[in-house]
Symmetry: C2
Subunit: 509 residues, 2 copies
């Protein structure tokens, strides 16, 4: 039977259609069951919700994601057929039960994920099972291949192709905005795609989006890279390893990122852009994703080995990420700090130091001797800034942009030092929670500026950091959260004072 398409302009996350209860009953489907929607051109699987009034009998209400798939002025009706849950749900259950999966089985799961055939519940089961049961090196290799094969791949006419990536957990890690222009200015080709935030306060795509267009097409990534050497694009707009963005959808609200999934997600995107040489940055320290040196070495080993199986030369840099990189956290604020570094006015040295070191390794992988000092020359001479402006222009940004043009959120609060002393610890995870409470990464102006970092002296009542937000409520929530969880530790600070009989507590706040 044919159903008339009705657009329902609701942006739900999942693929969802709405059927009249009577049609649903005739078809034998209930809310949360699955149907296949069939047009002459394609078949899409969707979850069903039912209504007694929003759509009439004979109509199918398509929410945004499904409507996008069938958006065609010629197409008035589709066929709808009930369908059972995909076999890959059984395979996910096998993983929950601790069984190793075959190449075929992993391919089936990833194919269903990439085709949006799994519900949030099923996706979450996959992610949590993977987090707890893990995957072997073989499974991880198959997972990587499956993620590449279920998406598009980039074929640059220029070779070899370079790429790099930072594993998360170090807030403020805006080095991509420096590394890509340095590497491109050195004459290498680096088609960098970045994701949005998973467990961090914001991702590179969130940052650059505040000053340029990051939703680039495959063709744009190719032509811009071939023309000017580098690009900084959001990976979610192109179809590289599309399963990853579907998986991130459930990883994000849980701040989860299973070991093997992390490797596969990173390597699949690098394989998909055709990287021949790939440098991985693994920040370690309290509060990063990879806290211990031992785990960082395990990651490095596995990344290199799986890279080898995929014909990719992988190197890894284990870096210090025990406190934020630089002084700014948040989309607009990080764009601003990166711009300041490119302009030669860095608010702190750590961003510059790390960017030059990483770019230097990439240059050496590309056969350029003394990579680090070449990289520093490129930055100091203004060539990196010039290249970054070329990238901005190619991505519809303002090529004359200055750091002073980039403004944080309009609402601002200061967090004051609770006592005199030295900052002995900045808690990455707590700082990220505060930045997120302020609205980052979705609210572009939300974030933090550090006035004092680890080792610096503070006086009681002196501002330690500023919180910015686009929204008053969220600023209040962030301030309350900061006061509650206290992301800073100042030496000599009294956590609580329990007075003796007859005495009242001294206030230390």
């Amino acid at each position: 039977m044919k159903y008339k398409i009705k657009e329902i302009n609701i942006d739900a996350g999942e693929y969802t259609v709405i059927l009249n209860v009577k049609d649903a009953k005739d078809m034998g489907v209930r809310s949360l069951d699955r149907v296949k929607i069939i047009s002459p051109k394609k078949t899409v699987t969707s979850v069903v919700e039912t209504t007694t009034s929003v759509v009439k009998e004979g109509e199918v209400g398509m929410l945004c994601k499904v409507f996008e798939e069938f958006k065609d002025p010629q197409l008035k009706t589709v066929q709808i057929m009930p369908t059972s849950r995909p076999h890959s749900v059984e395979l996910i259950k096998n993983k929950i039960d601790g069984k190793a999966l075959t190449a075929e089985e992993i391919r089936e799961i990833i194919s269903d994920i990439a085709s949006h055939n799994l519900t949030d519940i099923e996706l979450t089961a996959y992610v949590v099972a993977n987090q707890l049961q893990g995957m072997t090196l073989d499974e991880t290799t198959w997972l990587t291949k499956a993620m590449v094969e279920t998406g598009d791949t980039l074929e640059l006419d220029k070779k070899p192709v370079f790429d790099f990536h930072s594993i998360g957990g170090a807030p403020g890690n805006k080095i991509t905005l420096l590394v890509v222009p340095i590497v491109a200015a050195a004459g290498l080709f680096i088609p960098k795609t970045s994701s949005r935030a998973i467990s961090s306060a914001c991702g590179t795509a969130d940052i650059l989006e505040t000053i340029a267009r990051v939703s680039l097409s495959m063709e744009e990534i190719k032509t811009i890279t071939e023309r000017i050497g580098g690009v900084i694009a959001w990976g979610g707009n192109v179809n590289f390893a599309p399963a990853d963005d579907v998986i991130i959808r459930v990883e994000y609200p849980l701040s989860l990122d299973p070991y093997s999934q992390l490797i596969a997600s990173v390597l699949a995107k690098k394989k998909a852009v055709g990287a021949d040489y790939f440098l991985l940055d693994i920040p370690i320290g309290p509060g990063t994703k990879v806290t211990e040196n031992e785990l960082a070495n395990k990651y490095a080993h596995d990344f290199i080995e799986i890279g080898r199986r995929l014909d990719m030369h992988v190197e890894c840099a284990i870096t210090y990420g025990g406190q934020p990189i630089g002084k700014h956290i948040g989309p607009a604020l990080e764009a601003k700090e990166a711009m300041m570094c490119l302009e030669g006015k860095p608010p702190s040295t750590s961003v510059v130091e790390k960017s030059v070191a990483m770019a230097g390794i990439l240059l050496e992988m590309g056969g350029i001797h003394n990579g680090k000092s070449v990289a520093r020359d490129i930055l100091d001479s203004g060539k990196a800034l010039a290249k970054f402006r070329e990238i901005l222009e190619a991505q519809d940004g303002n090529p004359d942009l200055k750091s002073g043009d980039i403004l944080p959120g309009e609402h601002k609060a200061e967090i004051l030092a609770p006592s005199d002393g030295y900052v002995i610890f900045l808690d990455n995870k707590k700082l990220v929670r505060v930045a997120r409470a302020a609205g980052s990464p979705k609210d572009k102006g939300a974030g933090l500026i550090f006035l004092k970092k680890r080792g610096e002296k503070v006086d009681r009542g002196q501002p330690m950091y500023e919180i910015y937000a686009d929204n008053r409520h969220k600023l209040d929530e962030a301030v309350n959260l900061s006061n509650m969880i206290k992301p800073y530790q100042v030496e000599g600070m009294i956590i609580a004072h329990v007075p003796g009989p007859g005495r009242s507590a001294t206030v230390h706040k």
Copy 2:
């Protein structure tokens, strides 16, 4: 700011409201963020979806679940405030990381679950983490208490209160429809609440619903039990341990039921109805939830111990569930078979044997000697049928109902024996998959009737079982699935024939 309520008649699972993108932006919330909805009487947390057209600025579209909460002709507007994700998500992550939770923390998670404050993604993370990391006996006790305390409790004027429950996995286990009338006819009080199917083909509530109303109020459960001794109600309609039905919502599509969650869910509902004596049926055998005797004994031990901590006398019966109980699977079909047993015309002896044995133990827990033979007398004398008719009448069913009045689905197919031999194995899990593919438990007429059970002789081409469905497509899917996964094993059956050179395969289908 006040938002005008607009009903959006869509039955999504989660608590969902729809905001105009402009309002959402002003408020600083995006799709899948959370808001608090505030009326003078209550505050509800909901997930947000955004639209450019379905609701106008200043309006809030409430999908069914949220609309139900604010359904009041006097109430035209509500306040809406952005809110961050609940702290219990961090606690769920602690469980994923393998940490034990405190009584307080478990209470917080369960309270958020019961209040619909968690999304499907967060709920699934809780369930899968619990499945894989487990809980200690202390945690399980706290979990049980938290589930009781976040819901209502029944206070019968008649004491003591008896109850029983079967752990799942044995298809066709419709004994409740016999046990409750037998026990009630013996003069004991048994306010039985049942859930819908989790991992089985159908639950007791699904079965009885085909012939009576199972959505009873608390008051109805109380008055019917006090008046006639027994009731068979759907637990989801009353507010006993309400977290359980929210959890089942994500357990069901994954067919998962974590060890500690199973104990807590069962005992919380029994504690909530005020049970003093509780008998647990633990079916074991291939394909049941508890396959091994060792695990059954562990369950029995833990159920009894946690019962003791909750002042409930618990006994357990480990029963054989390695093949379906009786001959029918599916909501209407199981109602029909139970009715046939009560009428003294059982299609097989296993349902009667098990029901009489279970009722017998309950009678002895209640101080009645020779419980089993008393139970059999009650069944054979027709007193159980008379009591069941009283229950039907009290629950708006037809008190004159006969088994012949109950009809299965209109679409039917036969599955034929592939060879001569004896039935040596019926695979519970595969049979459940076939029954589910046919539409059970949602389609009331869907299910299976066994013509041959374990140990019986079949001839090639003779029907082994019938599949019934309300819907043609689903019947076809069930038949295809049955042919593919072959839930029956017939001794001497050739799985496949690989012919030698120059010879073609003999067809064995």
